[in-house]
Symmetry: C5
């Protein structure tokens, strides 16, 4: 996520980093090259009686804008939902610990165990969503037996919830929790289960492939044909207008692609590292644990991963 501070509207026009401009520069240069070529071949082109007027492109342009707008909304909805689910993780992590700490005030060691499981869950979720290795992070929070169980599981995060369930059952078994309070705490585990399945859903079910493909194709074909349609009217102005229209469509298409997978590592994706870091600080502080990590800050390029 880019957390660029507020800038004057004029300065902002010249931002390069994080603007998806870098990603589509090749395609825009191709467009300029094509426009220039078209200007040179214009006399030969007109002689052939091959003419493209701008009117059908007007229909196409509006249609593509509507479909692109729809795809954008769908991808942004995925991004927003992903953020909402991680917000739920923040809520549930704090609430589960608050009630547990209150009810089991006489057993700080048990609470410390729970906190470690909770933090391990967050990191495990982050790492599996980003397809990274788990072991060198999780060994900070889990015992060797727990770590083995988690690493050998088909669904490591679900295994950690199972460990929390066992922890909770143990508290009930030794009489520290009545059935009502057990059920109340167990609901938080159900919520964690919902968070996990929500993330899996977003990560494993992309936008229907054909959707992205249709929009891609029509956008690219539109940008390729555009210089031919503009040249008879605009002549030397063709490259400027063509590249401007292409920028509008291509950049939104590219941004939609970034937002489609909100758990990725691209500039506009969610800052999962920072979210995990925040939860860890919160939980450690709630049990007055001094060993809390440093708060993460955006890097020099205003990026928060």
């Amino acid at each position: 996520m880019i957390v660029r501070p507020h800038q004057h509207w004029f300065t902002r026009l010249f931002v390069w980093h994080g603007s998806v401009l870098a990603k589509i520069s090749t395609r825009l240069l191709l467009n300029v090259a094509l426009s220039v070529t078209v200007i040179f071949f214009l006399p030969w082109y007109e002689a052939l009686d091959i003419k493209l007027t701008i009117a059908p492109f007007s229909i196409l342009g509006v249609a593509i804008a509507i479909f692109l707008g729809f795809r954008n909304s769908a991808c942004y909805a995925r991004y927003t939902e992903a953020r909402l689910i991680w917000g739920q993780l923040v809520i549930q992590s704090r609430s589960l610990l608050r009630v547990s700490r209150t009810l089991l005030v006489a057993h700080p060691q048990e609470i410390r165990h729970l906190v470690n499981l909770q933090i391990a869950f967050c990191h495990c979720l982050r790492l599996t969503l980003r397809r990274k290795k788990l072991d060198n992070v999780l060994d900070r929070y889990l015992s060797q037996a727990e770590l083995n169980a988690v690493l050998h599981s088909h669904s490591p995060c679900n295994r950690i919830i199972l460990l929390m369930g066992e922890w909770l059952a143990a508290q009930r078994a030794r009489g520290a929790l009545s059935d009502i309070l057990f059920q109340s705490l167990d609901n938080h585990l159900n919520e964690l289960s919902g968070i996990l399945a929500g993330c899996e859903r977003i990560a494993n079910t992309p936008l229907p492939f054909a959707y992205s493909l249709i929009v891609h194709r029509t956008v690219y074909l539109f940008c390729i044909l555009l210089p031919f349609a503009l040249v008879t009217d605009l002549h030397f102005m063709t490259p400027f207008v063509s590249v401007f229209i292409s920028y509008t469509f291509l950049s939104l298409d590219t941004l939609a692609e970034e937002l489609e997978d909100p758990f990725g590592m691209e500039d506009n994706d969610l800052p999962l590292d920072a979210l995990c870091n925040g939860i860890e600080i919160d939980l450690r502080e709630m049990i007055n644990d001094e060993h809390k990590p440093e708060k993460m800050r955006p890097d020099r390029r205003y990026l928060l991963t």
Copy 2:
């Protein structure tokens, strides 16, 4: 569902499989044929003073794009909701088992019975949604008496929830569950009931028929009239522009039709087989059962059914 790995934007333009291009190829060829015919008959056509200008098509094009966009949103919302409901199934399956296993830790045989009922429910839901035969799948998970009850029911999935309800009542009857815990577990059955009715709703209540029909008709008529409107302006370029605009409208119309029934077996439908397979692995693993199935992978054409 197509799970094609990320490709370069240029390569992606030439994808054939899963792009709905195959489905609409006849219609696009018809469009090309019509455009070529129109070019040949142009002199005769102009002599008749029958002229179609592009201006009224501009109004129509935008109107159709807006309505097609709405239909697309409605169909995509059905697809998204269907996926959300199956995500709920993942959540509830795991949560029901987690709590049950925790509370009935002394009765592994009962838990194994529950797991079989749960997996049977998932497969039963998948098979009824896809109108396939149940018996040769469900007999792996149900006893003969249960299988008979399920197969002779008007609503097999609901019958399996009923069996789970009886299992739950039996646990309460022999004192293993207090009323509070019984009610808490029973809520998971209510959720399964909601999942079932949600899937039935999507499967049995399509988009109002007239909607699809109006959009179909106007899109097809638009594509048929398009060459007549373009030919006076574009002449030899008519087939190219006409087929491009037709592709934009027809492909989105066709994709919307695929998404409208998200439980089908078409390329862009939900991978119910893989979801059931995932739930089965999860549940078996949670009770340390060795007899879990292999994880399903996409086939050579990147398809996951």
Copy 3:
């Protein structure tokens, strides 16, 4: 609801029934007649220097399409919500019976009473929403005293929920249900209450009247003025293009009106009869009652009421 089986895209173009085409045929014929008239009067019309160009109609067409699109979304949202509420009815009916049957397994007569109340509620809701007579249907399910109470009530459905509440209180009073289980079952009655009020809300609060009126008026005026605007450009083609554009706008306007009242008896409305029939079969089957009705099928014209 029309449940037409999947057809070839070409055949589908010629569907008459259920396509709202029948409903708007008069208005389309008027449009054709006007177009033909305009062609005849064209010379006189041009002599008067009364000219309507297509350009302002382009602005209007897009604006109307946007507003019509909005109205369509709003009406479709009402339809979807109505279906969702009836889906809730399916869920709650099954869940209430499942838990009751489980907990009161020793009192089949009581359960049978509950089932009759539940089915009566569904039919009562259907009949009041469609403003039909209640007595000749409800007397199959209610005792004479109950029937009297229901028929003399200002809100018959609410009275049936009250009867269920009394049934539930009776079970608690004779010690068959603890407070926890009572509250749990009572929640299902709250849900039924929500379903009832939801249906009443949709039925009694239409889309703001002025909305429909503005869209109607502008659509009709637009279609009336269209031939005048098209004739100078299109001449003999005027009737075809004019009727095509009118079809697009009028059919969507008319469909929106059908969907606005989803509980009606028109072609594209919800199949409340079939839904009630389905719930009755489900509930009877859950208590192994042999006297269940036949499953409703669509009629020859693919209609399910």
Copy 4:
């Protein structure tokens, strides 16, 4: 709310009352006057080489339609949500009474007290939302002490919920309700609290002021400039087309303004009086109280307040 019965589409075109036409008639007449003036000054206007073509108005028209469409959606969402909240009030009123009546069947006097508090709450909510005097309505339902407490409160509705809370606590204090049932009934009070805060939110937080202003300004300016842009093309037809386009934009703008405050007394606002009347009849009937009010009917102009 206007509850005009279904009319023939043709008759409907000539509806005056409730169509917002009355409200914008001045502005439409101004537009006609301007159009006529412009026609007279056309020669002088053309001599000055001041020309306004329709092309830039096409861009503006579409842009304004999109923004107006968005504002309409936002205002309609407020209207829908307001109706939903009042639907919740119906649900909660009935459910709270149903359970209370069932559990406190031996104390009809207490139930009568509760019913009075409930009805007082509905009327109080209605009257505060419409900024009317409370005392001459509420004194029908509240004792003198209660009335004083309510009238002197900063938030009268909240005070009535507090009185219900005290009523509920009294029932628990004298042993009529276990903690579970107390909590269950108390949840209904929480829901009432949510209903109250929801209404306050809609009433006190309008659409951001700048939004309405921008749309107003651009719509009015657009309508003022329109005759100038149309006159060179349309000449004598200018007033007709100009007033038609203006009607489309102005009427939607004005309707949006009515819907923005759904609790008002304008034609298209919610019928709060009728809703309160309905709840009062429902509740009185549920306790077989003979003193229920008459059911409200729409007046001669189909208005339900």
Copy 5:
């Protein structure tokens, strides 16, 4: 928030304050200056055969309007959600106090302590969202020990919820609350936790940066190029039309930016001060505390902060 009273539509056109007009005046003046320059250089410009027609701008204008419309919706959704969350705070504050007061009627001192914690939470949330200093406000409501704990915390609001949790646990510990009532009250704390995390989510996760940037850039570039495209057609009318179109796009872009951060101090942001003030009055009144603050009123410029 601006709470300008209802005005005549004509007067409203001349509003300056709160209309975002002030903010974009420089950019509009630049646009006028550019338009005038373009008119002067028109002969030289035409000689160069550099021509920009309005047709490609028509495509661009519609596309930009669609994307701007989407960005507006997204920002408005943030604003609406923020208001909804603060509405939740009103609900939970009142409900938590109502139940507590009812159940702990014998301990007014404890209730007073709770009220102070609740009010402190609201102010703390407001101040952290607006990045202001906490200590000189919170010391009115918290003891010195509490204040220290809160001020030294990484997440002060969460620390206050923790204090409420400890207060609640103390009530349970001394036997004033059964487990059921404890769990019921604790749910309100979970809701407060959700409110806090919801606000943090909106405040810390802006709209993806690239989105705002793409829309900014295309809007500004569009407005800069507009005079060049309009001048050949409109000549002396160029500045008027150009500044009007620019106003439409720039003002919506600027308003979206204000709404994006709904917790800010700009004209169209949420009135957090007034909301906190309202909650404080409500809570103090519910315990008949005389020391309630004055109700906040909008200032002379109709602003409520």
